[in-house]
Structure formats: structure tokens, C-alpha cells
Amino acid sequence: MTTAIDVSGLVKTFGRTRALDGLDLGVAQGEVHGFLGPNGAGKSTTIRVLLGLIRADAGRAALLGGDPWRDSVALHRRLAYVPGDVTLWRGLTGGEVIDLLGRLRGNGADRGRRAELLERFELDPTKKGQTYSKGNRQKVALVAAFCSDAELLILDEPTSGLDPLMEEVFRACVAEERDRGRTVLLSSHILSEVEALCDRVSIIRAGRTVETGTLSELRHLTRTSVAAELAAPPTGLDALPGLHDVELHGTTLRCQVDTDHLDALLRTLTAAGVRSLTSRPPTLEELFLRHYEPESATAATAEVVE
């Protein structure tokens, strides 16, 4: 079994809203998979289908080789889940919730690992549910998930409310999980996080997968930013295909170029004599912006970063 999650053509409607509209998602075993999309794109709905909390109207979903609806209980023992908005019980302390969730799954937490995680996340386990801040509630769920020995972690926007230091701890923990061979589905709209952690990403919009692949594959489809200081004004720029947002002031050029046409641009530039050159692969932000702009506007508005 090499696929941890295999979803195709998933459809889910709530009344008149089509939350999922033919969504596809494939996550290989042992990878950290970024699941990207703006609010309301259907990330949480997909996760809830995968958890067997809701039933899809159409399409196929397989989780760890099983049916998420039919085999939910058996599958849940093999996964750990962190919801995006963690609500805790008023009377229960954080430590009690961590232990409870582990025991419900049928594997009590490893005490040493639990203590280590509490320390790393700087979480006080003796406080009652209602007195934790948003970030601390999130930490309770994260510690519960990381100290389980589940083979699949499903994390739904897990870092909302965490401060940057804690985000660092979170990233280290995810990296450790990957090194231990676990699979992670990380839903997020924080791109730097996904960029730092994920082997592959799927980008969804309006309930549909618009892009999926490794980061380098996705970059291949997009543009590189180029800034050059030239010896003389370049000639023939207008004739080059795949060039966008050209700003030419005398001998200073800034532009974006479709990655397939980078070679032609560089030849034109060296012909004019290059004094300095910086070229930067597109950041995930740029990928993201491209996918979330309304389709018609994509070509016109690709923003120049920096």
C-alpha cells in the first residue's frame, strides 16, 4: 500500500452550496502533503469526508486503503486529527484532554514523549479548558496528535493562533514525523509553512483541485522573476514570447518570464551585455495568487513582487 489518501471526483453539497465539486487528492505514504486553498475552498469539508464525519454525495475516497465512512472506527485508530478551531471542555484540563484523546484511540500516550512535547510547546497541562487562549487550545490538540503513534496525521490549519516561535516548534515536529515515516496531510493557507514542510502540494479552489504536484513541478508551470543591469539597452525584447510585466528604464530591466522561455530571454540579455543579474523562482505566494485570481484577470495583474 503506497497511497495514504486517494480521493477522486469528490462532490458534496450543503443545500444549494456545492462545497466540493469533483475534488481530487492523492497523498503517498510517508510524504508531507500541503493542502492549500483560501477560506471556503473546501479544505475542511474534504477532511471531514476523510474522517467519515460527513458522507460525500459522489466520488471515491480511500484512506489508508479503507473506506472512510464504512471503516471509520478502524481507520481512526491509525490516524490523529487536529481541527482548525479547537474547542475544549470547560471542566477538563489540557493534560486530561491529551490523555483522553490518546486513550480513545486505544493507545495511551508515551509519557516521555508527552512530557517532551509539553515542554517544547511550553504548554501548562493543568489549566482548565476555558482558560486557554486560542493558541494554547491549538497546542493541546497538537501535543495530543504528535504524541500518538498514528501513521497518518491530518492537520487542518494547525498553526492558527500560534506565535512565530511556536510555529518553529511545530515545523520541527512535522519534520520529525516525516523522518519517522509518517504521512502528514497539512491543510493551510500559510504558504511559507507549506513551502518549508511539504513534499507535494495540492491547490484547491471552489471545491476543485486546480494544481497538484511537487513544488518544483508547480514552479515549472509558472514564471521566474528576472532583474538585470545591462551594458546597453536590449534589442528584440518585444519579439520574445512569454514575457510579462516588463519594466525597462534605460539599461535596467525587470520582468517576469514563463519558465519555458527563460532560455530565450537570457540569450537576448547576454547579447546586450549583462552587468548584474538576479533571477528568482516564483514563491508559493505568486503561485497562489495566480490560482486565486478570477481566471480572466490572471494575465493582466500578475503582481511584481519586490
Binding site: 471531514r48 474522517l51 464525519l53 460527513i54 458522507r55 472506527v73 478502524a74 481512526h76 485508530r77 490516524l79 486529527y81 481541527p83 478551531d85 479547537v86 474547542t87 475544549l88 471542555w89 470547560r90 471542566g91 477538563l92 484540563t93 493534560g95 486530561e96 484532554v97 491529551i98 490523555d99 483522553l100 484523546l101 486513550r103 480513545l104 484511540r105 486505544g106 501548562d124 497541562p125 493543568t126 489549566k127 482548565k128 476555558q130 482558560t131 490538540a141
Partner: protein, 532 residues
């Protein structure tokens, strides 16, 4: 303390609470007016009122509940006597809830921070909370006074009656003004306020039960005792009204002083830390449900034990009390199903306990929906817990918790009756089963809730509506001479009326079967539907 923005906050608070406030005020006023109307028809003559007063004042349990009758000369005085004990308590409770709701609870939820960053003075939220409490108290006080004066009672007595009620509200709004500074959570603040209110009631009840002199002076330690001693239409002791208002004002000042000494979100009483690791018992859906619901079960059981003891303890005086009005006699016999007044009364009392237990059953069954909508069910259901196991863990409480309540109420009613009649084992054996056989009727309400929860989750709250309508029919139907077909709609009508009547198992089996079918349908729906 800066009070800028109190006006808008108060308007916002009243708007937010318009339905809840309207319901509370309606219920309070309905009980005032209903009491006056029913006294007018039940005790029209001075001699019937004197007989009532004699039997109440003879009976310690009844004096504890209502205080002593101080004047039988007018319906107004009788109404004021009957209302000030319990009505003052309820209005006090409303005021505590209102103040907490708009101060500490908002602060806890973080919403006050949002407002506090606007042009709102530090003192404004508390002022708005107290303003909401004063508004409610004013409406209740004014309408009470106007209604009684308009229906021909003395004007100054009516004013004193309304003012005494108003004073109760003001005094306990003050209690809450301090409580919300001490506690860090709205629930804890309500707990402190409720404890003070409960203590005030107990002091008043103990003092009145003890009678004049000696321990009877306990009454003077309680604001509810002050309100009672205003004795509208008799003494019209305005200085006690002034005392209530002064107490409320003084406590508000203390509340403001304390507020100046703490941070937003902080309390003066520290939150106690809990255990850092879970006890061995917290390991299953049932363990979690037990942990979440045990506190309320214990509280309800204590309440049922006290209520049962009170209901049993007054049963000796009840035949004299009832015989003072032939109308009351008829109603009790109709509800209680026996010609023997004491038995009929006790059967009615058991029915009453069952109605309250139905409230518990609905509330605990609704916990499932609360867990679902708050998102707390999700991590549990994603941790290898079957849906039915999760639901079953919580449904233990409406199913068996209700049994505990009815047993406790039946047992203490038996003890109470046993003490006053001098046969404790006999009465306990008689009343314990009389309480317990109500269980299938209580189950029906839990089952309706489960059916809604499983099949039409958005409408789960309608369970309160079903309960409200059926309780209304069961409680007031007999007094309003409702048709038998209407009474037959409520499960309570079908429970054998023990003690006094013959026991039949068939209706209990039918009610159990109905509950099983409804709950089964609900649980089948839960297995199939989306969560959330």
C-alpha cells in the same frame, strides 16, 4: 470610573436579551397575576382565608417555603405573602444572570475586549449589566403595583409590594456586581451569586420555619427576609425597601472598587489548576460523559432530595389546607386520582417531580447536540469512537440519571412524610416506587429529543417546545378543566397515580416502548447523517 458608552451598551444588551427577558418577565408577572386571580376565586371569604393562614402558619415546612401569612384581610396581602418569598428569589436570580451575562461572560468570551477598544469607558459594561437588571426589576415592580392597584387593592400597599420586588432585584444585581469581579468565568460568577442567593433563601426559610423569637431572627440576615418583612398592605415597611436599595448600591460601589483593582479578563479569586494528567476513569466516551455531566447530576439529585423532603414534609397539613377550599380539593383529586386527600396530594407531588425530571432529561439529552455544534464531538468521533458509543455515553444520563433523581425524590418524600406521620419505613416503601414508576414518562421526553437530534438535528431545540407544551397541559390542564383527550397527550397522565390508585403495568410498558422506538429511530438517523 469612566461610564462613557453605557447607553449604547445597555440598548445593545436589552436588544440581545429581548426574548429571554420577555420570557422571564412574563413568567414572573404571570405568577403574580395568576396568584392574585386564583386566590380571589379559591379564597373569596375572610373565613376561608383565615383557615388557609391557620393551616400554613401551623406547618413548619410550608412556612419555610412561603413564610408566614401575616394578614388575611385582603387578596393583595395574601398575594404579596405568596409572591415575595419565591418571586423575590426568582427576580434576584434573573438579575444575577443578567449582570454576569453582560460583564464577566462577555469578558471571558473576549467580546468585551473588542468593545473595550472602542469608545467605551472601563465602567460602562458593569453599568450596562446593572442597567439591564434594573430595567427588568422596574418592569416587574411597576406592573405588579399597577395591576394590584387597578384591581382594587390599596394603593400604598400595592406600591410597597412592587417596590419590595424591585428591591430584591437591585440587591442581587449588587451581589452579582461583586461576584463578577471575583470570579474569572461567567459560570463561576453565577455560582457565587447563586450561592449567596441560596444562602439568603435558606436563612429566610430557616428563620420562618423556626417561628418568632430565637432562631427566627435569622430572617433578618437575609435580603429575602427583608423583602418579606416589608409586609405590603399591613406594615408597608418602606425602610426595609430602602435597606434593600442601599445594600444594592453599596455592593455596586464595592464592585466598582474591586473592578479598578484588576485587569481585563483577570479575577480576584485565582483559577485553581486541575490535574495535569487524566485519571484512569477518563478513558472512554462514557468516562468523558460522566466527567462532563456528573456535577449537574449531583446538583439535581441534591435538589430532588430537598424538594422531595419538602413535598413529603408538608403532607400532614395538606388535608386541612385543601379542605379550606373545595376548589383546591377538586383539582388535587383530579390530578392525584384519589379521593383520599393525602394520597392524592402525594401522587400529585410525584407527578410534579417527574415533570421536573423531564426538564433534566431533555437538558442532558440536548448535551449531544451541544457537543456536536461546538465542535467538541469532532475530535472524539475522529479518535476511533463509534457514534453510538459516543451518544450512548451521554444518554446514560437522561436514561439512568433521571431514575436516580426520581428515586432520590421519592425516597426523601417518603422520609419526610414518614417523619410527620410517624412511620418512616412504611412511607418510604410507599413513595419510592411511586417516584420510580414515573420514569417511562420522563424517558419519552428524552426519546423525543434523541429522535429530533438524529433525524432533524437543526430542530433539536424544539424538544424544549414539546416539553413546554406538554408540561403546561399536565400542570395546568386539571386546574383549567381541560378535556381528557388533551390530558391524554402528556405521558404523565398515563402513569398510575401512586399512592392511592391501583398499579397497572401496561401503560408503563407502552410508554417504554414508545421511548424505545423514538430513541431507536433517532440513533439510526445519527449513524447515517453528517456530523456538524
Amino acid at each position: 470610573m469612566n461610564l462613557t458608552g453605557t447607553g449604547p451598551l445597555l440598548r445593545f444588551a436589552l436588544r440581545r436579551d429581548r426574548i429571554m427577558l420577555a420570557c422571564w418577565i412574563y413568567a414572573l408577572l404571570a405568577s403574580v397575576i395568576g396568584t392574585a386571580v386564583s386566590f380571589r376565586s379559591l379564597y373569596p371569604t375572610a373565613s376561608s382565608r383565615e383557615q388557609l393562614a391557620a393551616s400554613i402558619n401551623d406547618n413548619g415546612s410550608l412556612r419555610a417555603l412561603y413564610g408566614a401569612v401575616y394578614d388575611t384581610g385582603s387578596i393583595g396581602a395574601l398575594t404579596a405573602w405568596r409572591i415575595l418569598g419565591l418571586g423575590g428569589l426568582l427576580l434576584g436570580l434573573l438579575c444575577i444572570l443578567l449582570v454576569t451575562r453582560h460583564t464577566r461572560a462577555e469578558e471571558e468570551a473576549g467580546r468585551l475586549e473588542l468593545l473595550g477598544a472602542g469608545a467605551i469607558g472601563r465602567g460602562a459594561p458593569l453599568a450596562a449589566g446593572i442597567g439591564a437588571a434594573l430595567t427588568a426589576s422596574t418592569v416587574v415592580g411597576v406592573v405588579t403595583a399597577v395591576y394590584l392597584a387597578a384591581s382594587g387593592e390599596q394603593l400604598d400597599g400595592s406600591l410597597a409590594f412592587g417596590a419590595a420586588l424591585f428591591g430584591c432585584g437591585v440587591c442581587f444585581a449588587g451581589v452579582a456586581a461583586i461576584a463578577v469581579q471575583l470570579a474569572e468565568t461567567g459560570r463561576a460568577a453565577n455560582g457565587i451569586g447563586g450561592a449567596v442567593l441560596g444562602l439568603a433563601f435558606l436563612l429566610r426559610a430557616a428563620g420562618d420555619a423556626a417561628g418568632s423569637g430565637g432562631p427566627g431572627r435569622l430572617v433578618w440576615l437575609s435580603p429575602l427576609g427583608w423583602a418579606e418583612r416589608v409586609r405590603p398592605y399591613h406594615d408597608n415597611a418602606w425602610w426595609l425597601v430602602a435597606l434593600l436599595l442601599a445594600a444594592g448600591a453599596a455592593q455596586t460601589v464595592v464592585g466598582y472598587r474591586l473592578a479598578g483593582r484588576r485587569d481585563l479578563g483577570g479575577g480576584l479569586l485565582p483559577q485553581r489548576p486541575g490535574p495535569g494528567a487524566a485519571a484512569a476513569s477518563l478513558r472512554s466516551a462514557l468516562g468523558l460523559a460522566w466527567r462532563l455531566q456528573r456535577g449537574s447530576l449531583i446538583g439535581w439529585t441534591v435538589g430532588f432530595a430537598i424538594g422531595g423532603a419538602l413535598l413529603g414534609g408538608i403532607s400532614k397539613g395538606v388535608d386541612q389546607l385543601v379542605s379550606s377550599s373545595s376548589n383546591v380539593q377538586q383539582i388535587v383529586q383530579r390530578m392525584g386520582g384519589s379521593s383520599q386527600v393525602t394520597d392524592a396530594y402525594l401522587a400529585t407531588a410525584m407527578n410534579l417531580l417527574a415533570m421536573v425530571a423531564a426538564v433534566y432529561a431533555v437538558q442532558t439529552a440536548l448535551r449531544l447536540r451541544g457537543e456536536e455544534t461546538s465542535g467538541r464531538a469532532e475530535p472524539v468521533l475522529a479518535s476511533g469512537v463509534r457514534r453510538l458509543a459516543w451518544a450512548g455515553g451521554h444518554l446514560v444520563f437522561p436514561l439512568l440519571g433521571s431514575a436516580v433523581l426520581l428515586l432520590a425524590g421519592g425516597l426523601t418524600a417518603g422520609l419526610g412524610a414518614g417523619v410527620v406521620f410517624g412511620d418512616v419505613p412504611g412511607w418510604s416503601v410507599k413513595l419510592m416506587p411511586a417516584g420510580l414508576i414515573q420514569l417511562p414518562a420522563v424517558w419519552v421526553f428524552a426519546a423525543v429529543t434523541v429522535a429530533l437530534f438524529g433525524l432533524r438535528p437543526q430542530w433539536t431545540g424544539a424538544a424544549w417546545g414539546v416539553l413546554g407544551v406538554l408540561l403546561f397541559i399536565a400542570y395546568l390542564g386539571p386546574a383549567l378543566n381541560a378535556g381528557q383527550w388533551l390530558l391524554d397527550l402528556t405521558p404523565f397522565t398515563h402513569v398510575p397515580k401512586l399512592p392511592g390508585s391501583a398499579f397497572h403495568a401496561a401503560p408503563l410498558l407502552w410508554l417504554t416502548l414508545l421511548s424505545a422506538v423514538l430513541a431507536g429511530a433517532g440513533l439510526a438517523g445519527l449513524r447515517r447523517r453528517d456530523i456538524g
